[in-house]
Symmetry: C2
Subunit: 317 residues, 2 copies
Amino acid sequence: LESTVLESKQTDPLSSWHDTPTKQAIISYVKEVTNTESAKFIPVSNRVATFDNDGNLWSEQPLYFQLFFAIDRIKAMANEHPEWKTKQPYKAVLEDDMKTLMSYGEHGILEIVMATHAGMTVEAFDAIVKNWLKTARHPRFNKPYNELVYQPMLELLDYLRANNFKTYIVSGGGIDFMRPWIEAVYGIPVDQVVGSSVKTEFVIEEDKPLIKRLPKIDFIDDKEGKPVGIQRFIGKKPVFASGNSDGDFAMLRYTDSNTYPSFQLYLHHTDAEREWAYDRDSHIGKLDKGLDYANANGWTVIDMKKDWKVIYPFQKE
Amino acid sequence: LESTVLESKQTDPLSSWHDTPTKQAIISYVKEVTNTESAKFIPVSNRVATFDNDGNLWSEQPLYFQLFFAIDRIKAMANEHPEWKTKQPYKAVLEDDMKTLMSYGEHGILEIVMATHAGMTVEAFDAIVKNWLKTARHPRFNKPYNELVYQPMLELLDYLRANNFKTYIVSGGGIDFMRPWIEAVYGIPVDQVVGSSVKTEFVIEEDKPLIKRLPKIDFIDDKEGKPVGIQRFIGKKPVFASGNSDGDFAMLRYTDSNTYPSFQLYLHHTDAEREWAYDRDSHIGKLDKGLDYANANGWTVIDMKKDWKVIYPFQKE
Ligand SMILES: [Ca+2]
Ligand SMILES: [Ca+2]
């Protein structure tokens, strides 16, 4: 019996986290709100936890991974589109000329995304994403993109679920780009993802019912869109929200207005050596207003360098 | 031990259903697909069951209940809107002149719905719906509207869940009109509802984060919209789909294309005495093309009069 007690004491649910105030704040919150004796107790049905994905559960440098996917798809589809050799922004993608691609701004990115994310059935797109994850490798780490997920965050997801929180992804990324892999990687089922989407249509072709993806934005699940997406898909205000950029600021403020005790968690990328360091001046994952507000209002900020023992699962000993 | 066996044999999960081919078809399907020894076995994660609401889980006559709600709201709000006394279609509503209201067609209905379903926060709308359910009474049965749910369908929902199906509502009705009451009545949580919606916006007013309902249609979850809504919200093709009108035809065909064995269930309103009888010529819940297709393709059709022992829970002995 004594050895069992000892063992359970040694089983740290957040073992990849250093024993810093960040970890202590998380554990103290969870212990408090799951304690039926506490005035801060939250009933299970209200334990809703929402997580941003890019730069929060997996990396997002040197480009959003979904943009790497779009670029790889343009190259894979180039044979069917000979006109792309001379047409921008496709030409820039085919020539690996990122500077020219970026000069086309959001409009150029949108064109690349629409050319690669629409025009097929939802099943076909699902298969394309799965195949890409099998074959593509990240330029810095030479690993499949879905291995570049944060080990400490996987533990946090597990820890919250072990305490009867329901974990959701709320991401600016494409909902159907995430669904093919998130259940295996994060333990989050496909109906607990809120994300950006293209319009789709239901058609019957040759007596076969199909859902086709159209090259038209349906919903952008970013900034003020995140609380809107949460309300539409989840229907409850979260008590726990986690993100890494100003794109999550609205979601964290929304969560902070919960009448139940709530927890706001920002991941600050401070580790250029093991991952990347960026915040106020970054084009990707800009964290500026949110960081000031977090510091002024007692939100919890993860300092990646100081708070995390390891970054990725493949680095675990 | 013998008495326990006897007791469990007597506990019929579908006790409000007569022992007809309809009930037998449901039970035989569920037994087959949950049997690990069967070639028709469906893994738990793919046991997705979608249910239409109006006329399928609760009644929809003599008007959609949500339209009764809108009419009651117009009357409750009339003091703040003196102009409605002379402005159509409001005047018709205030004078209980349904004929004139209906003469304004869908456009008139939409105006009534937008005037009553938008312009407030999501929390305020939630409270309005809950209060209406407490006070409003159905004109024929003199019961709260959410007591006019079908006892046999409640048993079917329970039976499917007991067999590890995940049950969802997929309704043309408003998602935020259903959420305030469906968990208590159907046992379906608020994040397992797909429905029609108005656009919303996230704003911060006087330092308070709010989500406001706007008088603009966001999504109509009906007909071809149902498979689209299922794909967007649930992300998996159902194996079991249940509806009562041509508005569900696309959902049932979509489900019928599942590579797993699937079940399509239509509720045919055949009981003018205990509920209502209507199908091909009805403006509400028209069932025409779907009924022909069901009969020609071996889908299961509930004959309300012949298949159900009771209609509503309050009629149970
Ligand atoms: Ca992010
Ligand atoms: Ca219906």
